[in-house]
Symmetry: C2
Subunit: 244 residues, 2 copies
Amino acid sequence: MPKAKYDHIYKDLKEKIETEFYAYQQMLPSENAFVKEYGCSRNTVRRALAELTAEGYVQPMHGKGVRNIFQPVEQTAFTVGGIESFKESAARNKKTPFTRVLQFAEVTADEKIERRTGFKSGTELYYIQRLRSLDGKPLILDHNYFLKELTEGLTPEIAASSVYEYLENVCGITISTSKRTLTVEHVTQVDETYIDLKDYNCMAVISSQTFDDNGIQFEYTQSRHRPDYFLFQDVATRNHRSGT
Amino acid sequence: MPKAKYDHIYKDLKEKIETEFYAYQQMLPSENAFVKEYGCSRNTVRRALAELTAEGYVQPMHGKGVRNIFQPVEQTAFTVGGIESFKESAARNKKTPFTRVLQFAEVTADEKIERRTGFKSGTELYYIQRLRSLDGKPLILDHNYFLKELTEGLTPEIAASSVYEYLENVCGITISTSKRTLTVEHVTQVDETYIDLKDYNCMAVISSQTFDDNGIQFEYTQSRHRPDYFLFQDVATRNHRSGT
DNA sequence: GCCGATTTGTCCGTATGTATC
DNA sequence: CGATACATACGGACAAATCGG
């Protein structure tokens, strides 16, 4: 839990923006005004504003000020955000989650698995296949590989509740960075078996490699979502003439 | 063009990482070492490292050092990155781009358009429909709405070459923030007409609102991609107990 | 157009805290 | 325990963009 000053300011401003204490398109107080309000240095204010900028909440304008450009999103679909567990996602989307473990096995990575997951051939892994339901509707099919060395003691029971809690609280893993790619793929036999796909013949697929704070990859996950309940959000900023 | 010091360091390190001057999983020199190497303050070094961290290039570890966790990606599909024009994307993916303008019209936003695009009802807009080909293969169908007030003088000819060049160089628009959502949707009549979809009945759809440096939304775009040539990348970092 | 006040952008030097080894 | 390394925070300086008089 960051008790950092900039984090406090960040959360405070974020809430004020979300609750429309500052209106859409309205100018926020100047950085120096915040310095007085929060009793801190300008750098600290700027750090909080930088986070909000990266998330598309505000837009700083040189010489003018900082504008609120936050607009709430329609919440019909299941939005995908940062690194979070299925439970956390469900809570954020205000849905009731349920997990059914379809497979639980210990495997050793071969070359085929290495290419897909990034785990070196020969590595000991847990493989888990799970069906995720929201409000009783089966919508997501997860294929997980966990590095056995760091996640020893994983069981189907844990897989049914929350693996992330186990990793963080029992294994002492600090989850850090996740690299994700998003693609659209044909449905598989397994998809069709467990998910009511209407007439869709595709799934939205998020593949991710997750690293701990030592830079060790401990997880590879492929998350296959039913198209009509899938929504991914992103904010990009133009690197004023970037291009490397 | 940023001639900023931190940007120079950022680009330099980025290149050294991409060219494997620093090996995967290798520790980078310490921040203080960089301070001496670049002749700058530690803050400046840290700013450059922060950017690389956000992009998933490196991982800082408290008390230990900064580790290179960059891995190059398979380049078979068409990867989508930050804010960039079709031309820029094509160049990055090393493909030859071609654009065919299917429709060019001036429209006034009604409520239906307002809901989809975020432009207030009554706003004057340009509407453009374009087919994008890579190496001769039609792969992407774009629907654009541009705010007429800021993009006056747009023509089908410009739409066929590069709208972004026109916006930045002629209209003097500084492109800043883009909010995107990614979904998977059923194919439409128009999709089927112009794109060879094999047996896919879905498209990967990126919808984006783009803002200039005054916080004015000047563009709404829906970009419909053929699934097998679509790949979206993203790096997420865990906000050590985030949750608002 | 110029000037000064305001505001954001970049950079520096320093101090202190915390985690690792 | 001490040395090293990253994390947070402060205060100050100057540059660059904007705006009003």
